[in-house]
Symmetry: C2
Subunit: 414 residues, 2 copies
């Protein structure tokens, strides 16, 4: 699927004796960092767990992997690992290409991150979990890169003309996005922003009705559900927060209660607690008095995985400043769509400024996720026999390379 | 010089309604992180200082820059900054594209790294300086990437057949490399490794004669010279270290004393202090009893900017294991050359595993240095008018892009 050679980033500058001093032959490519520790996500027992995106990208980079199975689905993790072991045996890959450990995160996780052979760490989970891993790494004699995808409330701005023209349809789309998978997506739209207007009231009315129609459903495990209930209760008990609507059906045990609440822009600005993620089928609508207040609200937000504009061409023309501001806020900027739904492809960015991740220069989804696990190595003055295939003059792998500042698949001429 | 578009990494995956769920239009490119704090190097008052590599790469990324002038050459730094200010005025670039501050590193440097507007840090200097900046960043509410290039002893392995056939010539090359610029290069070969043999003795004899011929010369400033003298004294007082030769001419004040010393492999392995950088015209020859001991010595080393093999085709054939080991050790692997001399080009890697730098995934020299200061941003479902020029379907900038997994300069077909 990935066009061969892209992440290898083969670059060749051939020798040039006419320069002073003469330039030697320099050829660089990406090599694997080494063993990668992967902490599987609680909310994706398959796609971001034992055989998930972090593992796949680390293996693709040529790294071996040690997965710490998530305590919320240890048996699933073990089953997947056994399937991987079978694949390793039948395909003749070295036995310890991938290993699997379980146990309490604060003990096993710390020991794993601090093991001298580990060269990088991938994590998807809570802010406290991610920052703990960063701290463990910083205590090492040789600190290693920790890519942690942590938390995001994925603000969505509803622009006036869009609300006016398509309010009801937007409300239906967003009721679906807020409650998709009982809100257990990292890109769940937890924050809806707009300037007060009759069109916003109408939108809110339809959104409330749609939320009421969504039946509660079981969350992935007890821990996620308990955490959702606690945080939801905190928000709803906030003196400035007004409950708009919950599901018409009360939740059974371990089920989540789809919920919409609202708050004024001023109150939202006054309390940092309202900017924290409530992981589950919940969204907070912030009603701003003016565009100026909306800008203040956007500026008060921390780094995000995504931010969305629900806007007409008219809205965009009148609000270029808002678009520029949103671009600084997140790794993925969405126009007239829902942030839930993350395509695994080359152009995807599932990352963003802190604290959505620990390093905004990388993504954990899509083929570029591989780049977290490689380092460039330059071979100077090597003979053809010694060079790796990716860098041999004849280009036996037929990959795209940068040769003397030109992209090409052609061999290097002698 | 840089082929336009390479660091921008424009990637386009067009909408695909035939997939389930439908894939939206996704287009990503690199955008500047924001203001970058640059700490200029003491050892390169021009090439890696105020208007040096870190500043140039940050500006090329589209970031603004605040340079902390090095205390060892504050007036040079100020003069260069004034020239830059003139250029900013005459070219109509925004006034504060670049700013310059001076003062003690522990106060001004800390305040700079912890300023909320700073989004990344570039540093070249000591291990203690670099790790202090990392610590300052970790104390921020929003930690930022710190790329610090810190220390490296750049081990050179002299293989038996090469010593046998070209010993005298290698000695001449290395006497030059060790004392080039009075040893004030990050890539100065501070460690020479070989297995004992009569050919090694002959090589050492010639190297000693050549070192004796190199006249002492002034170092860049008092601090560097004082530090060199202190560390040199420490090494030469070490009970297991034997002085081989110093310059035939004694150094005057502020001049460095070109020096070669040697130690056994066993003694080198026994004391971590011998693995520290002595920044100046000094090299330590480690005489190993056997190839097995040489491997132990290589495995005991920390991460390096460079490592070099002085080897014939015969040597390489017999020592593939050593080559593999050296490749894990550094960012640049040199065959039959000297590590001093760093070409500014696309294939260069001036970086390496910790503690040579804080992040082995980047380089501070060459066009890839730009990648330290950018983050990918994905625009989903954007209209042509809203897309940046780099991502518009027509490709008005005529850059190379990855479109639906193919490298191309062609426009995106509708």
């Amino acid at each position: 699927m990935i066009r061969e050679g892209s992440w290898v980033n083969a670059v060749i500058d051939t020798a040039d004796a006419t320069r002073t001093p003469a330039r030697p032959d320099l050829r660089k490519m990406a090599l694997p960092l080494g063993p990668v520790a992967v902490f599987s996500a609680s909310n994706f027992p398959f796609a971001f767990s034992t055989a998930g995106g972090d593992t796949a990208s680390a293996l693709a980079a040529g790294c071996t992997v040690v997965v710490k199975g998530h305590s919320a689905h240890q048996q699933t993790s073990q089953l997947v690992y056994e399937a991987i072991q079978k694949a390793i045996k039948s395909s003749g890959v070295p036995e310890f290409t991938m290993q699997h450990i379980t146990g309490p995160g604060n003990l096993v996780g710390k020991a794993l991150v601090q093991h001298p052979n580990i060269t990088a760490v991938g994590f998807t989970g809570s802010f406290s979990g991610g920052t703990a891993l960063v701290e463990y790494s910083s205590q090492r004699e040789v600190p290693v890169p920790v890519f942690a995808e942590m938390s995001s409330i994925n603000p969505v701005v509803f622009f006036p003309d869009a609300l006016e023209k398509n309010g009801a349809q937007l409300a239906q789309t967003y009721a679906g996005s807020i409650t998709l998978g009982m809100g257990q997506f990292c890109t769940n739209p937890g924050l809806l922003l707009a300037v007060k207007s009759p069109a916003l009231d109408a939108f809110t009315g339809v959104l409330a009705e749609e939320i009421a129609k969504v039946a509660p459903a079981k969350m992935l495990h007890t821990g996620i559900c308990r955490s959702f209930n606690e945080k939801l209760e905190e928000v709803l008990e906030h003196k400035d927060v007004q409950l708009v609507k919950q599901s018409a059906q009360a939740p059974a045990e371990l089920e989540a209660y789809p919920t919409l609440a609202k708050v004024s822009g001023a109150a939202f600005l006054a309390d940092a607690a309202l900017k924290e993620e409530v992981f589950g089928p919940f969204s907070l609508l912030v009603e701003c008095e003016s565009k100026a207040e909306l800008i203040k609200v956007l500026k008060s937000l921390k780094g995000q995985l995504t931010t969305t504009l629900m806007a007409t061409a008219e809205d965009i023309k009148a609000n270029q400043d808002l678009l520029d501001l949103q671009t600084t806020l997140a790794g993925r900027i969405i126009l007239n769509g829902a942030p839930t739904g993350v395509e695994v492809c080359a152009a995807m960015v599932h990352g963003g400024p802190f604290p959505s991740t620990t390093d905004p220069r990388f993504t954990s989804v899509g083929s570029s996720a591989i780049q977290r696990w490689v380092r460039p190595v330059c071979f100077q003055g090597f003979t053809e026999e010694m060079l790796p295939a990716e860098l041999k003059s004849a280009n036996p792998l037929n990959i795209w390379r940068t040769v003397n500042n030109q992209f090409t698949q052609a061999p290097v001429s002698a």
